[in-house]
């Protein structure tokens, strides 16, 4: 997998324990240093923002890059996404990318 940071959604998280991944979601409620991310396939991911607290999400939709461990995503960085971001299409793209891993990982 080398330097790949695969784009996944909630249902594929279990395959990437301990790995650095990217996940897109709508920003939900804050719980201390954590934020709930509502993923494109209607899952909920706890994002630990302890390492990146000085930067705030600027939009409602974000892509978070972090390490998935023990049911929590430790954020390394994030990217703001536009408000018109199409969750359904992105979700289908992720499913297709998992069927064609040879060009993604």
């Amino acid at each position: 997998m080398s330097s790949a940071t695969p784009r996944i959604n909630f249902k594929y998280l279990s395959e990437f324990e301990g790995k650095t991944i990217r996940i897109v979601g709508k920003v939900g409620e804050k719980q201390g240093n954590n934020v709930i991310l509502h993923t494109t396939d209607n899952g909920q991911v706890i994002v630990d923002r302890s390492n990146n607290l000085e930067k705030n999400y600027q939009t409602n939709n974000v892509e978070v890059l972090g390490v998935w461990n023990n049911n929590q995503l430790s954020e390394l960085t994030f990217f703001n996404l536009s408000d018109n971001f199409d969750f359904d299409t992105h979700n289908q793209m992720i499913d297709l990318s998992m069927k064609h891993k040879e060009i993604f990982m």
Binding site: S2, S3, A4, T5, P6, R7, R22, N61, T77, F79, L81, S82, N84, F85, D86, T89, H90, M93, L96, S97, H100, E102, I103, F104, M105
Partner: protein, 277 residues
């Protein structure tokens, strides 16, 4: 599209790829690469800029698209000295390679202390460029880099990359979609005849005869005229209009199209053009 490496093949389409595909590509004859058994030259990528190094004549970006990381180079334009010739740039590249690590450290410190930031750093960008071999290594030269403002372009790019990949591995000859909105883009294989190869040094008469024989459309004739001009200032809009017997407006539309595709670039002013090939 032929798989015969001995034919001089020019691929006009822009292929949407992932960085992983570029990493897996195999070098073919004539400085080109093959991906999914097809020749690839003009490439589009979408990813985030994670590092920027400014050189005197170029800017190096490190791009991460989630499938891997790739260093790409955008050559700068110096209007006072006209377009910096790509060969000169490659020579400068050799000289500056040793200083790159030191420059990187200086830039990091500068960035921290003065908070100077390239506008693309840590942002999603779309890149159109050329994949070439340089000293047996993959080299990606940027024709255009643009910040992505509609994030759906990220999804669209990867869907296009998947589509083209599936089409090629299933042996479909159509190379798939390009990222351009122009509906006129089609894949062509242009066979450059031996006589044209021998007379590549601005033999316009041979070029025109070859055009007549091949019966190419106005757009292709324009590109061939631009490509055949080897002067540093390139060919002018007026000269193209005269030679192709078309209005300047028609020629302007054509050159704007090729500029957007990254197949030509502006030299001394916005009425002089050279090919990026």
């Amino acid at each position: 599209m032929t798989n015969n490496p001995n034919e001089n093949v020019i691929v006009r389409t822009i292929t949407p790829l992932t960085i992983r595909q570029i990493q897996l590509s195999t070098e073919s004859e004539g400085n080109t690469f093959k991906i999914d058994k097809e020749f690839v030259m003009n490439v589009s990528l979408v990813g985030t800029v994670i590092k920027v190094i400014n050189g005197n004549t170029y800017t190096n970006y490190t791009i991460d698209d989630g499938t891997g990381q790739l260093k790409i180079r955008e050559f700068k334009r110096n209007k006072q000295n006209n377009m910096i010739d790509q060969e000169e740039q490659e020579q400068e590249q050799e000289q500056e390679q040793e200083q790159e690590q030191e420059q990187e450290q200086v830039n990091e410190e500068k960035k921290k202390s003065e908070q100077i930031q390239n506008p693309f750093e840590n942002k999603y960008v779309r890149i159109i460029g050329n994949l070439k071999a340089y000293k047996k290594q993959k080299s990606f030269s940027v024709n255009k880099i643009m910040e992505i403002t509609d994030s759906n372009q990220i999804t669209t790019h990867f869907l296009e990359a998947i589509l083209v990949h599936i089409q090629r591995i299933n042996g479909v000859t159509n190379q798939g979609q390009t990222t351009s909105q122009e509906s006129q883009i089609k894949e062509e294989k242009i066979e450059i005849k031996k006589e044209t190869n021998k007379n590549k040094n601005n033999n316009i008469i041979t070029q025109q005869n070859t055009d007549q024989i091949l019966g190419l459309a106005l757009k292709d004739k324009a590109l061939r005229l631009i490509s055949s001009n080897q002067t540093s200032s390139g060919i002018s809009l007026q000269e193209l209009s005269k030679k192709l017997k078309s209005t300047e407006e028609e020629i302007r539309e054509i050159v704007d199209f090729f500029l957007d595709q990254g197949q030509i670039y502006i030299t001394i002013d916005d009425e002089h053009f050279r090919s990026t090939d």
